[in-house]
C-alpha cells in the first residue's frame, strides 16, 4: 500500500514537472471562482486542479445581487461567476461579460439544444449552463389530499399557516402574475397594480418565507404545502415520496444558472478550461448527484441512474410550460416595495 502511494507520488511529481514545462508561457495557474454557496462539489474542484494544476479559489454568495454587488465594487477580480438567467442578461447589456471562445470549450457540444440561445443569451455567446431548475408546488400528500395544480389552489383559506414560500419578491410576484394569466416578465406599473389585491389575499396565509432551505419547514412538519426550488423538492422526494412536486398549469419560472466570465477576468483561459471540464459527462454527473436539479448536459443525463432520472422534481414529466426571468431594470424596486408592503400588512 505504502509503495503504491509513493509510486503515485513520483508520478504526480513527474506529471506536474511535465505540466510545468508545457505551460511555460501560460498565465497564472489559478482561477477565482465566484459561485452560489454549496453549488460546486469539492470533488469537481479537486479533480480539475489535479488534472490541470490550476488552483481554484472558490468564493461563495447567496444571491445574484450579492454577487453583482461584489463584482461591481471591483475589490476582487473573478474569472468565473455563476449568475442566473436574468442576471446574465443584465451583465451582457452592461458589457460586463467576455464572450466564450467555443473552440476552447469543445465539450460545449454536450449542452442540450433547449438550453442554448435562450432569451438571456440569444446568440449563445457568453454562458455555459450549469444547472437548470424550476419553481413549483410541493405538497405533503399525507396532509393535503385534494388535487393541487395551480397557484390559487395553494393560497386557500384552509391552508392558512401551513404554507412555505421562497423569500423572494420577484418569484412571489411572478406567481400572482401567473394566476391572472400573465407571464412572469409582464411587469409593468399596470400589471403590478393588478397583482396587489392578490398578494394582499395570499401573503397573510403564509407561515414561513425561506429561500435558503424551504425544505426544512416541510420536513419538520411545520407546514404541509409550499412553492420552492425544484432541487429542494427533489431532495424532499428522495427523503420521502409523500412530498409531491407539481408544476402549476399557469406556467412556472425556469431558472438557468450558468458559468460566465467577467470582462475583467485575469485568467479567461483558465476559466474556459474549467467550463470545458465541468461539461464532461462524467464530471457533470457528479454535480447532479449532489444537486438534483435539471442537468442541461445531455450526455450526462444519459449516465444518470434511473432513480435520478425518475425524480419528478429534477425531470418533470410531460411538457410543462416554463419561462425564464428577464432583466426588468427599475421595476425590481417597485416589486420589492409592493411585497414588503403586503408582508407588513399581514
Amino acid at each position: 500500500m505504502k509503495r503504491i502511494a509513493s509510486l503515485a507520488g513520483v508520478f504526480l511529481v513527474a506529471a506536474s514537472v511535465l505540466a510545468g514545462c508545457q505551460s511555460a508561457q501560460e498565465p497564472p495557474k489559478e482561477i477565482n471562482l465566484f459561485a452560489w454557496s454549496e453549488y460546486v462539489p469539492q470533488g469537481v474542484i479537486d479533480g480539475f486542479t489535479k488534472e490541470t494544476g490550476i488552483k481554484v479559489n472558490y468564493e461563495a454568495y447567496a444571491s445574484n445581487e450579492e454577487m453583482l454587488a461584489k463584482l461591481v465594487s471591483g475589490a476582487q477580480k473573478y474569472d468565473l461567476i455563476q449568475p442566473s438567467e436574468y442576471t446574465i442578461e443584465a451583465l451582457i447589456k452592461e458589457n460586463q461579460l467576455l464572450p466564450v471562445d467555443w473552440s476552447k470549450v469543445p465539450n460545449s457540444k454536450n449542452i442540450g439544444s433547449q438550453f442554448k440561445n435562450l432569451p438571456h443569451d440569444p446568440e449563445h455567446k457568453y454562458s455555459v449552463p450549469w444547472m437548470a431548475g424550476s419553481v413549483g408546488i410541493v405538497v405533503n400528500s399525507e396532509k393535503v389530499t385534494e388535487e393541487i395544480d395551480e397557484y390559487d389552489d395553494v393560497f386557500q383559506e384552509k391552508y392558512s399557516g401551513r404554507i412555505v414560500v421562497l423569500d423572494d419578491p420577484r418569484e412571489i410576484v411572478s406567481w400572482a402574475l401567473g394566476s391572472i394569466g400573465k407571464g412572469p416578465n409582464d411587469v409593468t406599473p399596470e400589471t403590478l397594480e393588478q397583482v396587489k389585491p392578490i398578494l394582499a389575499k395570499w401573503l397573510p396565509l403564509v407561515k414561513v418565507y425561506d429561500s435558503d432551505s424551504p425544505k426544512t419547514a416541510l420536513l419538520n412538519g411545520d407546514v404541509d404545502i409550499g412553492i420552492v426550488w425544484s432541487g429542494e423538492a427533489a431532495i424532499l422526494y428522495n427523503e420521502n415520496p409523500k412530498f409531491k412536486y407539481v408544476l402549476p398549469k399557469e406556467g412556472a419560472h425556469q431558472f438557468v444558472d450558468s458559468l460566465a466570465i467577467p470582462a475583467n477576468a485575469p485568467n479567461p483561459e483558465g476559466a474556459m478550461a474549467f467550463m470545458d471540464y465541468i461539461l464532461r459527462p462524467e464530471v457533470s454527473k457528479l454535480i447532479s448527484a449532489d444537486f438534483p436539479y435539471t442537468n442541461p448536459n445531455v450526455e450526462a443525463q444519459k449516465r444518470l441512474s434511473p432513480e435520478e432520472k425518475n425524480n419528478p422534481a429534477s425531470y418533470p414529466p410531460g411538457d410543462p410550460k416554463l419561462e425564464g426571468f428577464r432583466d426588468i431594470g427599475e421595476q425590481a424596486v417597485q416589486i420589492d416595495k409592493i411585497v414588503t408592503d403586503m408582508k407588513a400588512e399581514g
Binding site: 447567496a62 444571491s63 445581487e65 450579492e66 453583482l68 454587488a69 463584482l71 461591481v72 465594487s73 443584465a90 451583465l91 447589456k93 452592461e94 460586463q96 399557516g161 412555505v164 423569500d167 423572494d168 419578491p169 420577484r170 403564509v206 407561515k207 414561513v208 418565507y209 425561506d210 426544512t216 419547514a217 419538520n220 412538519g221 411545520d222 431594470g329 427599475e330 425590481a332 424596486v333 416589486i335 420589492d336 416595495k337 414588503t340 408592503d341 408582508k343 407588513a344 399581514g346
Partner: protein, 297 residues
C-alpha cells in the same frame, strides 16, 4: 462606570500634564481604526444616500433627495416602528430577567462569582447562528418542547411556537441577555454595601432601599445594558428570519434587501442606514442630557 471615569479624571487633573509623543503614538492605532472603519464607511454611506441607483447595483453620482423621501414612506415607517417595539420588548425582558441575575452574581462570594460569570459567557463559545438553529429544533411542532409537553399530558395538540413573534422575542432575549447582565454586574460589584445598610438603618424597607439606593447606584450599568441590547436588537434580522419565518420584515431585513435582494437599490439602503443612525444619535443625546440634568439636580 461613571464614578470610575470621574476618579480617573480627578487623578489626571492632579498631575495636570499634556499628553506626550508616546501617548499620541499609543493612541494612534485607535484613531486610525476609528478613521478607517467608522468615519470613512459612514461618510461613504452618507454620499451614497444622496445618489441615484446604478443598474447593476452600486450608485450613479447624481444628487437626489428621493431616497430620504422614500424612508418616510408609510411602508417603511411602519416597519421601523415595529422593529423599535420588538427591540424595546427584548430590552425590557432582558432587564427584568438580567438584573436579579447580575445582582446575585455581583453579591456572591469571589469563587462563586467567577463560576457564575463563566456560565453567562459559555454560550459565546458557540456560533450565534448555530445556537439560533438549535432553538428551531426545540420549538418546531414535532420538536423537543412540544413532544415533552404532549408526553406529560400538559397539552394534547402540538403548540405553534416556531415562526411566531414570540419565538423572535425569545431568540432575541436569549441572544442579548448576557449583554444586559455583564454591565449591570460591573455596577453591582462596585456597589458600596455600607450605603445599602445605611438605608435600612434609617428605616427604608427593601423596596425603598432598592428603588432609592440600589437602582440609582447601579444606573450606569443599567444604561449601558439597555444600549448594548436595544441598539443591536434593532438591527439584527437573522433571528427574525430563522425563528420568525421571515414573515414580518424588520428594518434590518429591509436594509439587507436593498443590497442583496431583487431591488439592488444601494442609495435607498444607505439612506435607511443613515436615518437609523441619526435616530440613534438623537436618542443617545437626549438620554445623555437627561442623565446630566438628573445628576446636577
Amino acid at each position: 462606570m461613571r464614578t470610575g471615569q470621574t476618579t480617573i479624571a480627578a487623578a489626571a487633573s492632579v498631575r495636570q500634564r499634556t499628553p506626550g509623543v508616546t501617548a499620541w503614538l499609543l493612541m494612534a492605532p485607535l484613531f486610525l481604526w476609528v478613521l478607517l472603519f467608522v468615519v470613512a464607511p459612514t461618510l461613504i454611506m452618507l454620499v451614497y444616500s444622496f445618489c441615484e441607483r446604478g443598474t447593476l447595483g452600486g450608485v450613479v453620482f447624481k444628487f437626489t433627495l428621493a431616497n430620504y423621501a422614500a424612508v418616510f414612506d408609510a411602508t417603511y415607517l411602519r416597519i421601523v416602528i415595529r422593529s423599535i417595539l420588538f427591540a424595546g420588548l427584548t430590552t425590557a425582558v432582558c432587564l427584568v430577567m438580567g438584573y436579579p441575575v447580575a445582582y446575585h452574581i455581583g453579591r456572591s462570594s469571589e469563587k462563586w462569582r467567577n463560576i457564575l460569570l463563566m456560565l453567562v459567557m459559555i454560550p459565546f463559545w458557540t456560533s450565534f447562528l448555530i445556537r439560533t438553529y438549535a432553538w428551531m429544533t426545540i420549538l418546531k411542532s414535532e420538536g423537543l418542547l412540544n413532544s415533552l409537553l404532549v408526553q406529560y399530558g400538559l397539552i394534547t395538540q402540538p403548540f405553534e411556537m416556531l415562526y411566531t413573534p414570540g419565538a423572535v422575542v425569545l431568540g432575541l432575549v436569549y441572544t442579548f441577555l448576557p449583554f444586559m447582565i455583564l454591565p449591570i454586574y460591573t455596577s453591582v460589584e462596585k456597589l458600596d454595601n455600607a450605603l445599602v445598610e445605611a438605608a435600612f438603618d434609617l428605616g427604608a424597607g427593601p423596596m425603598r432601599a432598592f428603588s432609592k439606593v440600589i437602582v440609582p447606584m447601579t444606573s450606569p450599568g443599567i444604561t449601558a445594558g439597555i444600549l448594548l441590547v436595544f441598539v443591536p436588537a434593532l438591527g439584527l434580522y437573522a433571528v427574525n428570519d430563522i425563528l420568525g419565518g421571515g414573515k414580518v420584515d424588520m428594518i434590518g431585513n429591509i436594509i439587507e434587501n436593498q443590497f442583496k435582494g431583487n431591488a439592488r437599490n444601494w442609495p435607498f439602503g444607505a439612506a435607511l442606514g443613515i436615518a437609523l443612525m441619526a435616530a440613534f444619535g438623537i436618542a443617545f443625546w437626549f438620554t445623555g442630557r437627561r442623565q446630566a440634568t438628573v445628576q446636577t439636580s
